[in-house]
């Protein structure tokens, strides 16, 4: 069957794809919109999967929109359906069901897949990943009756899960190859504060430690063998070693790939009828002059807004201040901007407790990024300063008075 449906076809109903469909309609776009996702679950928020969803055995998924939203707004959804091919010349895609659909504009919002461990035993029953609702249900289901968990990888998802599992009474060990947690995603100061918090919750952190193999007993995971020969007995393993952009479809269609689907400032791929947004795309970053690929809800939704404007008829270059959050146990970490390339960091302590509250990263006189811990208003102000390109002088930052900084920003 050759589909006659044209208009915009969106591949992936995660944060980016769903927001793009929403924004097309909010912009008054009146052509057909079709949202296709390999994921069979009704489109849902991903961040809670490693947070509140793990807290109790029966927390529901949090839907991105209500059950009748897509019908009400005439957005056709095809959930549990994979797009298997793109015929660029015919502007036609093929679905896993064998059907085809024609498009005028195609948006690839295919996200990432979890990076898999490559050590022996990586496929054993009891070894989990955490990217999708299905993964989260499998992990949550395995918590009942489990006593000891090993998290491989000290990134955001692994650490969020470590805190939740510890709160549910499991004995949790995090194994990280690098000398500290969070790698390039957070500064050393922030990583140290988070490490202290996790240890306070009883999580054991083994940094500078590699995994040699996963070992089985009776056909399922029983221990993690470390690079130094030690064995950590466990009932389950969560591999949190990062994500790989889902570029297979784009690559097979001959689109340019370079650490993600390469796009221009309008988020168009090397085929101008095909756009890519969110975790799967590498976009030009004006400030650094490089192509970047970011994995965050904000990046996916802001790119969705920009692409929806372009498809609705207003050519729009993507530009937005990146921001990100992570809840690790009781710690709310928020990051505004990108710290890479900074040559100076100012550390601000909370006046009452002396605990680390924020780290301001500058390059020369220019503010690049602000990391905050449990300081939501300061994060909002940081986003505002970065959007306006305003940098308070070091004395004002170090005084730590957020209202005074706001007066400078709005003054």
């Amino acid at each position: 069957m050759a589909g006659v449906l044209r208009g915009t076809v969106i591949v992936g109903a995660g944060h980016g794809g769903t927001q793009a469909a929403v924004n097309l309609r909010e912009n008054g776009y009146d052509r057909p919109v079709t949202l296709i996702s390999a994921d069979a679950d009704f489109p849902y928020h991903k961040p809670p999967l490693s947070k509140s969803f793990m807290k109790t055995p029966d927390a529901p998924l949090q839907p991105l929109r209500g059950p009748s939203f897509f019908d009400d707004t005439a957005i056709t959804t095809r959930l549990g359906t994979r797009v298997t091919g793109i015929d660029r010349a015919a502007r036609r895609i093929t679905l896993s069901t064998g059907e085809t659909l024609d498009y005028e504009a195609l948006v690839l919002a295919t996200g990432t897949v979890a990076r898999k461990l490559t050590v022996p035993g990586a496929d054993l029953p009891g070894v989990h990943h955490l990217r999708t609702a299905e993964d989260a249900r499998a992990l949550r289901g395995a918590l009942d009756g489990a006593r000891r968990a090993v998290i491989v990888g000290g990134g955001f998802i692994g650490l969020e899960a470590a805190a939740m599992l510890a709160a549910r009474g499991l004995e949790v060990t995090v194994v990280e190859l690098a000398e500290r947690l969070l790698g390039r995603a957070a500064s050393a100061q922030v990583a140290a504060a988070i490490a202290a918090d996790l240890e306070g919750q009883g999580v054991t952190l083994l940094t500078g430690t590699g995994v040699a193999a996963l070992e089985a007993e009776a056909g399922r995971i029983a221990a993690v063998r470390l690079g130094d020969g030690r064995a950590l007995p466990c009932d389950l393993v969560l591999a949190g070693i990062g994500a790989v952009p889902e570029v297979g479809l784009a690559e097979a269609a001959g689109l340019e790939i370079d650490n993600g689907i390469r796009v221009d400032a309008r988020l168009a791929t090397s085929d101008l009828a095909i756009f890519a947004i969110g975790d799967c795309c590498a976009f030009p970053h004006a400030a650094s002059g490089r192509h970047l690929r970011l994995e965050s809800v904000q990046n996916a939704t802001d790119q969705a807004r920009a692409v929806a404007r372009t498809i609705s008829g207003t050519e729009t270059d993507f530009a937005a201040v990146p921001w990100f959050w992570s809840d690790i146990g009781e710690t709310k970490l928020q990051i505004a901007g990108l710290a890479e390339g900074s040559d100076r960091s100012l550390r601000i302590a909370a006046p009452d407790t002396g605990a680390l509250r924020a780290v301001y990263h500058l390059k020369g006189d220019r503010l690049l990024a602000v990391e905050t811990l449990n300081s939501a208003g300061e994060h909002m102000l940081a986003r505002r300063m970065l959007a306006l390109g305003k940098t308070p002088d070091a004395a004002l930052i170090e005084a730590g008075d957020i209202r005074a900084m706001k007066a400078f920003v709005t003054g």
Binding site: H15, Q19, V22, E26, H45, P47, P48, Q62, P63, L64, R65, G66, P67, F69, D72, T73, V297, Q298, T301, W325, D327, K332, Q334, A376, G377, E378, H379, M380, L381, R383, R384, A387, I402, K406
Partner: protein
Amino acid sequence: MIKLTFIEPSGTSRQIDAALGTSIMQAATAAGVQGIAAECGGACMCATCHCLVVEAPAAGLPEMTETERDVLEFTSEEMQETSRLTCQIAVAEDLAGTVFKVVGR
């Protein structure tokens, strides 16, 4: 179920049914109120659920938490007297008839 009204950024006024126990933001996004992206899913850190209370219920709205006030005070859409983050307000019987104007982002 109670009825709530939202004035969308385009000026369109929409009445929605809101289920008790969910947040106002959840009820609004479920009904497809325009302009509320709810990027953080209700974690009180994106301010995309920012609305002004145009007509408050007789009993008033529940008090703001410190975090809600903090986020509103420093967000780029200037806080007004009637600003609220709708993800921080639970739908309750005595909120019936409240009218919100979407600020969003």
